[in-house]
């Protein structure tokens, strides 16, 4: 947009001139001589009143400055914006341009009075357009910058009442003067007065006084009421700004009115349809004057400009388009000869109109229409230039084409087309609504400026190509060549807005720097593409830039431009080979020129790949890479495959998926050269393979003397490489190393360097012929010794290449997941696909051959018995081993246990959850000998589960480096050997109850140590049914009833329990046995009324049978009697409720089955009770005794009633119908049976034994 005349493209907005704000802007008092000498004097508007001073004036000045700045913007004026104007602040004087041009002084005086025209008109001889120019930017500038629509005078209203009238009169006179000058000049500029009231006026003057004075001034000057404003002094600047805003909004309308008048005037002139005659007929040149279409063009153009002043976009477009049609129609441009300067002027006008139209379209949001207009103008001008001008096949046309694209880009930026900014990430805008359904050219969707800059750059390139074709004859300076040539040049070359050929591409000297122009354009474009994340296109532009820079030989810039592309591998990683190849060659050249050896070598390495097209006459030899590259020192270059791709493809595969520590594993490294066939073979000096995991790096050095396994003919050669292992020297003995390992484990990560040092020391080496011929695959087969268990994967291989000029380390990654590992076999070119992830090896720990076993394990272990475990270790390794033992027991509660291994013993106390013995040294176990270790666990109190893990850690004496371990897990389920259930049955205590009144038994309490019990006593019988839950037969050697707890004040003792022989009684599994215990409970005193709770436990003393049989002769432990104690539970005895006990006594045999039935009623309460006894007769027996009787019981007493029964049946239960009733409560008491009786729901049952035989 630079080339267009100043002011020709400005956004036209009303111009206001503000005078009287400060004197600093006062124009120099001299009349504008330079400008208007020939055009006569300008119109000077001046006032003698002093300009305003003070804070408000300076604020207003800056305010207008801001308004003016805003007025210069090219953005669309929205409805929300109240006004947009340009403001010119001047002092008290302002010069308007002269209205009429003067006659040139050289002209002889005319007979008639000349008709004078505007100095900008082609009619005036002094104008640049005289006599046949169409229009120029001067005219637009006049309206935009020199002739204001509104002339604003700032004045103050004095508050000094004495001088008020005088001041007002002076003001009036002043304004009248200005007004008169304006009227006289013929300009229709409106005069506006803004009067500022000062602080005092606000205080001293009333509104009426001010009103009167203003009215007086207004009348005196003949201003209309809308042209005079009074601003009382404002408190804040914000207020003042608000007031000014509203005044400017009003004035804006006035200004619009002004431009409407001007537009109307232009239209009126057009409608007259006459050709005005120039002041003087032209005497020089063609003597041609403007025709009617020319004038019509002028008028249309003017009304379009005035419409733009008014912001009437539609009207402006209409007028511009008409002016454009007239201009390019057959009457105007068609008849201007192309050699005439007017031709270029007309083209310029066409451009200006088009640009203004484009801008209007963009303002209206008609983006597609704008592009269409852009194309139409180009096509039309192209057509014209082809037909009438110098054709489009020259640098001038291309220069204009690129300018035209730049114009669009600049317009989009300046207008700030909504929705196309970088933040929106849009590439192009959809068509506007009006064109929605239409068939559009793709380009008609407005693309962002990056595309436009790119087109401009393209045309610049074409311009250069055409410029370079200018013949030498035309490139000389014009003064050096004959005039005829100059003339022919003028005809042949299109110099519209571009330099003539001798400046474009001079014979000597620099001329136009096309490359720089292109680079500027491309950089503009690139930033736009980058902002929208179009990185590939940005990269493409970078490449273009770099090519341009290469033509300028600024190699450092080339490198800076391409380096990011090279480093992020754009195009290369996605296999756009031709593109990356192009980048690489440009970059190599730049790197070679700047001496960047590393880049040169990396690119050479990359370009060896035959994927790229072969460049003719290129050596393809790495050793010659740095030929011609200046370098002071011998560089050592390190590159990796993530920076530069490689022509050598490497893969690594282990033969098998798993290996074992201590063994070896076959592995293959395959190196395939994909170099061009013409390339020189590459001889690597060494290869280093690195692994992740516990495998030492392998280094293979080149050895040319190594036998070459095959000739060139075969594409694949497999060579076995013997490896020698070099252990780190510092580690000599296995034990030491182990200790160090342990240390390392403890210290953790801290000792990284030391660790690395160790690794560096230990490695595997081999030698092989490492020459890689193009297209050849070299497979190195190695037998790698495996040492430590874990996962190992080949991570990378480093190829070292040494040339005379440099050294290179190239790192290739081997850890490509999911890749099929290939295995090569001698003589076969094709590999066998073995398995995915062939570079990963799982090293299993060395298989232990130490045998751990339990000796004579029991089927079942029981609670309450000590558990001995005997473990035998049998060394089946081929060598003696040093063994350590770990025992670890996991369970709920772990009892104390002891590990006994001959001389070494270890005891561990009881613990919760887990308990262990670690590192119990067992010492050396010779090959194929065995050893026994015992573990003794204390008895478990209850059934439980133990998990015992016995681990033997050992290493062989021959291979101290490899730790081996063997584990024996033992699961112990400890169960109860016995289960039992219980029944507590009442019995009649044989002793008489103590009497309350027995004074003889009263003892002195102070004397005795043990006071015999004096209270009530009861006898009970506990029946235990127990069964063995063992899996085998056990011997029970004794049964005990233990009284574990009695309520204080009570006593309890077992009076009778079953007896066993010393050998015990065999108890079969799952079979019920019964045992009866009699016990007596007694209270200490009679006074105690509380019931007594007794806790009982049942203990079985038992031992294992087999154990006894087998071990008795040898071991004292035999017959270990285990005691299993089971709690019986709590029973309540000696309550205070009365009870009825029935006891039976069978008579001696001779008395023939007579049965005595005693009914004993006990009254332990302290009440007097009465019971009724009823005995019903029965068919089963006869009885003697009261059929019905009453018994009275004193407190703490018992009485017995005896019946004698004679059973009539034998061998069955008889049912005595006996009912005991509490007389007072009318409650039937239950009769409790004792020995030889039982009870069911109907009552008591008495067993009648069979009659004795004989």
């Amino acid at each position: 947009m630079d080339g267009y005349p100043l002011g020709s493209l400005d956004h036209n907005v009303p111009l206001l001139v503000v005078s009287g704000l400060s004197s600093s802007h006062d124009q120099p008092e001299q009349p504008p001589k330079a400008k208007g000498k020939a055009n006569g004097e300008g119109v000077l508007l001046r006032s003698d009143l002093p300009p305003l001073e003070g804070k408000e004036a300076s604020f207003l000045e800056s305010f207008f400055e801001r308004v003016n700045e805003r007025g210069k913007s090219w953005t669309v004026m929205t409805r929300e914006e109240p006004y947009r104007v340009r403001v010119k602040t001047v002092g008290r004087s302002f010069t308007l341009p002269p209205r009429r041009a003067t006659l040139p002084e050289t002209i002889e005086p005319l007979t008639t009075a000349p008709v004078l025209h505007s100095p900008f008109s082609p009619l005036s001889p002094s104008s640049a357009l005289y006599p046949d120019g169409l229009m120029n930017a001067e005219w637009i500038r006049k309206h935009q910058e020199e002739v204001p629509s509104v002339f604003i005078c700032f004045h103050t209203l004095t508050s000094d009442l004495k001088t008020a009238t005088l001041q007002d009169n002076r003001l009036k006179a002043d304004l009248n003067g200005i007004r008169a000058t304006l009227l006289e000049s013929g300009y229709k500029t409106r005069l506006v007065v803004i009067i500022l009231g000062d602080q005092e006026a606000r205080a001293t003057l009333t509104a009426e006084v001010i009103q009167d004075r203003l009215e007086y001034i207004r009348r005196g000057t003949g201003l209309d009421p809308k042209s005079i404003f009074y601003i009382p002094s404002q408190d804040t600047q914000v207020e003042l700004k608000r007031v000014m805003d509203s005044i400017l909004t009003l004035l804006y309308n006035t200004a619009i009115e002004y431009y409407r008048d001007l537009g109307r005037h232009a239209r009126k002139k057009r409608s007259r349809g006459i050709v005005p005659q120039p002041t003087l007929p032209p005497t020089s040149g063609t003597s041609q004057t403007l025709s009617l279409p020319d004038w019509n063009f002028r008028y249309e153009f003017k009304s379009a400009i005035f419409a733009e002043f008014r912001q009437e976009i539609d009207a402006a477009v209409r007028s511009f388009e008409q002016a454009y049609e007239i201009l390019l129609g057959q009457d105007v441009l068609d008849i201007i000869p192309s050699w005439s300067p007017r031709w270029n002027e007309a083209r310029l006008l066409a451009d200006i109109i088009s640009i203004r139209c484009l801008r209007l379209h963009l303002w209206m949001g008609q983006t597609s229409l704008a592009v269409r207009r852009w194309q139409a103008h180009r096509d039309r001008i192209g057509d014209f230039v082809d037909r009438r001008g110098r054709g489009t096949n020259n640098y001038g046309w291309q220069a204009w084409e690129s300018r035209w694209a730049m114009v669009m880009a600049n317009l989009i930026e300046l207008v700030q087309v909504p929705g196309l900014g970088p933040m929106t990430m849009t590439i192009f805008l959809p068509p506007e609504k009006a064109l929605f359904g239409e068939r559009l050219q793709p380009w008609e969707l407005l693309h962002h400026t990056g595309y436009w800059y790119r087109i401009a750059a393209r045309h610049l390139g074409a311009r250069r190509a055409l410029a370079l074709r200018i013949p030498d004859d035309d490139r000389g300076a014009p003064d050096a060549s004959p005039a005829s040539r100059v003339a022919s040049k003028a005809i042949r070359y299109d110099t519209y807005m571009c330099p003539p050929p001798h400046e474009e591409y001079p014979l000597n000297g620099t001329g136009v720097n096309h490359a720089q122009l292109i680079i500027d354009c491309l950089l503009n474009a690139r930033s736009q593409f980058q902002a929208r994340k179009q990185h590939r296109i940005a990269a493409e532009i970078s490449l273009e830039c770099a090519r341009e820079m290469a033509t300028m030989k600024s190699w450092n810039e080339v490198l800076a431009m391409l380096r990011p592309l090279w480093e992020d591998k754009s195009f290369r990683s996605e296999w756009w080979l031709d593109i990356s190849e192009d980048i690489l060659w440009v970059m190599r050249r730049a790197a070679a020129e700047t001496g960047r050896a590393d880049i040169v070598v990396a690119i050479d390495w990359e370009l060896m790949d035959k994927r790229y097209t072969r460049k003719q006459n290129w050596h393809y030899d790495l050793s010659k890479s740095l030929d011609g590259v200046s370098s002071t020192t011998k560089p050592f270059i390190t590159i990796s495959d993530d920076l530069a791709s490689s022509f050598v493809a490497a893969s690594f595969a282990f033969r098998s998926k798993e290996g074992r520590a201590g063994e070896t594993c076959l592995a293959q490294l395959s190196l395939k050269s994909d170099a061009h066939q013409v390339a020189a073979p590459v001889t690597l000096s060494s290869i280093r393979i690195e692994f992740e995991g516990h495998l030492k790096p392998i280094t293979i050095a080149h050895d040319s003397s190594a036998p070459s396994t095959n000739s060139l003919g075969e594409p694949t050669s497999v060579s076995a490489v013997p490896l020698t292992e070099r252990l780190p020297e510092s580690v000599k003995e296995g034990d030491e190393k182990e200790d160090r390992d342990e240390d390392k484990d403890q210290v953790g990560v801290d000792d990284g360097p030391q660790n690395q040092g160790n690794e560096k020391d230990a490695y595997l080496t081999g030698t092989c012929d490492l020459t890689l011929k193009p297209g050849h695959r070299r497979v190195l087969e190695m037998d790698i010794p495996l040492r430590e268990p874990g996962q190992v994967s080949a991570s990378r291989v480093i190829l070292t290449y040494k040339a005379d000029a440099y050294e290179l380390d190239y790192t290739l990654s081997l850890s490509e997941l999911g890749k099929l590992g290939a295995w090569y076999v001698h003589g076969l070119a094709k590999p066998r696909l073995s398995r995915p992830d062939g570079h990963i090896l799982q090293i299993q720990p060395r298989p232990p051959k130490m045998k751990l076993a339990l000796v004579e394990p029991m089927d079942q272990y029981y609670a309450n018995e000590p558990i001995p475990l005997r473990i035998s270790l049998l060394n089946e390794e081929h060598d003696a081993a040093n063994v350590k033992l770990d025992v670890r027991i996991v369970g709920k509660t772990i009892p104390r246990f002891r590990v006994d291994a001959g001389e070494h013993k270890r005891e561990v106390d009881a613990a919760e959850e887990e308990s262990q013995v670690t590192g119990l040294t067992l010492g050396r176990v010779a090959s194929s000998s065995s050893m026994e270790v015992s573990i003794y666990l204390d008895p478990a109190p209850a059934p439980t589960v133990y998990d015992i893990e016995i681990q033997a850690d050992y290493h062989l004496e021959s291979d101290a480096a490899t730790p081996i371990f063997q584990v024996l897990p033992v699961h112990l389920n400890v169960v109860n050997a016995f289960e039992a259930n219980y029944d507590l049955m009442p019995r009649l205590h044989p002793d008489a109850w103590p009497s309350l009144f027995d004074y003889e038994d009263v003892q002195d309490l102070t004397e005795g140590e043990v006071i015999p019990a004096k209270g009530l006593a009861q006898q009970w019988c506990l029946v235990c049914h127990y069964a063995s839950f063992a899996t085998e037969e056990l011997d029970v050697v004794g049964l005990d009833l233990l009284v574990t707890g009695v309520t204080p004040g009570g006593r309890c003792q077992v009076v009778n329990q079953p007896e066993f022989s010393a050998d015990g009684m065999p108890v079969a599994p799952q079979k019920m046995y019964e045992a009866r215990f009699d016990l007596v409970a007694q209270k200490a005193t009679l006074d105690d009324r509380h019931p007594v709770a007794i806790d009982l436990a049942f203990a079985v003393r038992w031992r294992r049978r087999r154990q006894r049989q087998q071990q008795q002769p040898t071991d004292g432990e035999s017959g270990t009697v285990n005691v299993t104690t089971m709690t019986v539970g709590q029973y309540m005895v000696l309550g205070t409720e009365p009870r009825v006990l029935a006891s039976v006594l069978h008579s001696s045999p001779e008395q023939a089955g007579l049965v005595r039935l005693d009914i004993t009623i006990e009254n332990p309460s302290s009440h007097f009770l009465t019971f009724g006894l009823v005995m019903e007769p029965s068919d089963a027996f006869a009885f003697s005794g009261p059929k019905q009787t009453t018994m009275h019981l004193l407190p703490m007493s018992r009485r017995t009633k005896t019946y004698r029964l004679l059973p009539l049946v034998r061998g069955v239960f008889i049912r005595p119908g006996l009912v005991v009733r509490d007389k007072y409560f009318q409650k039937v008491l239950r009769v409790i049976p004792t020995e030889g009786m039982k009870i069911d729901k109907d009552g008591l049952l008495v067993w009648v034994p069979l009659a004795p035989e004989g």
Partner: protein, 230 residues
């Protein structure tokens, strides 16, 4: 009078890993030399194709379900790139040269097959949907019903003017044909798609099938605006 009509300048297939699978270049009419030459060199076409990946990526966030991206961008006032993405991530790009071919619009009988196709499209007999827009610019819009000669005249004027554009839908047959050619390629048991775009990997081989190349060639040469099947 002759008029320029769009033609295919380049057909490209881009793999899942943004790698080029196939590039076919077609010559455009060069009025200066009066001959058919490719408008750009192969390297430039590669760059053009790769630049469309950006647009695919940019638009993929709110992409259409059908995979038809329509106009990706116009490179300049002559070249425009249209795109299509299959549901396996293979992208097909058609670069159209808006002035790639020239038809003699003067005599209606003596034009080539492409001009006839265009005339049919513009005339409204074959594709009524297209006629409305091309006629909308001229005054003879309603008269298209009156007679075929008037329709042909308006079609010519539409072609001659700058407004003879292109709709996204007119490229659909191209993509449909490209896709079916690609499907036929996939049906070939010797074609391993993973070799051409390794999963999660980088790059990939290019398509070497001659049959596929021929199909692309046929599509690129046969297409002209208004063609509905290829």
């Amino acid at each position: 009078m002759s008029a320029a009509i769009p033609s295919v300048a380049c057909l490209g297939v881009i793999g899942r890993n943004n790698n080029p699978l196939h590039i076919s270049i077609f010559p455009s009419y060069d009025p200066l030399a009066n001959a058919f030459t490719p408008i750009r060199n192969p390297l430039q076409f590669s760059l053009l194709l790769s630049s469309t990946i950006d647009v695919f990526d940019l638009r993929s966030k709110n992409s259409t379900a059908s995979g038809d991206y329509g106009l990706l961008h116009a490179i300049d006032d002559r070249l425009a790139a249209y795109g299509f993405e299959t549901n396996t991530g293979v992208r097909m790009v058609c670069i159209v040269d808006m002035r790639g071919r020239r038809v003699e619009a003067g005599g209606s009988g003596a034009v080539g097959p492409s001009a006839a196709a265009l005339g049919a499209g513009g005339g409204g007999a074959a594709a009524p949907s297209m006629s409305a827009s091309s006629l909308g610019a001229g005054s003879g819009g309603p008269s298209s019903l009156a007679g075929s000669s008037a329709a042909a005249a308006t079609a010519r004027s539409a072609v001659g003017s700058v407004g003879a554009g292109l709709r996204d839908a007119e490229l659909k047959p191209v993509f449909r044909a490209m896709q079916s050619a690609y499907v036929r390629l996939l049906q070939n048991p010797f074609y391993d798609p993973d070799e051409h775009a390794p999963l999660g990997g980088k790059g990939g081989k290019r398509i070497t099938s001659k049959k596929f190349g021929d199909a692309m060639k046929r599509i690129g040469e046969a297409w002209t605006p208004g063609v509905t099947t290829l």
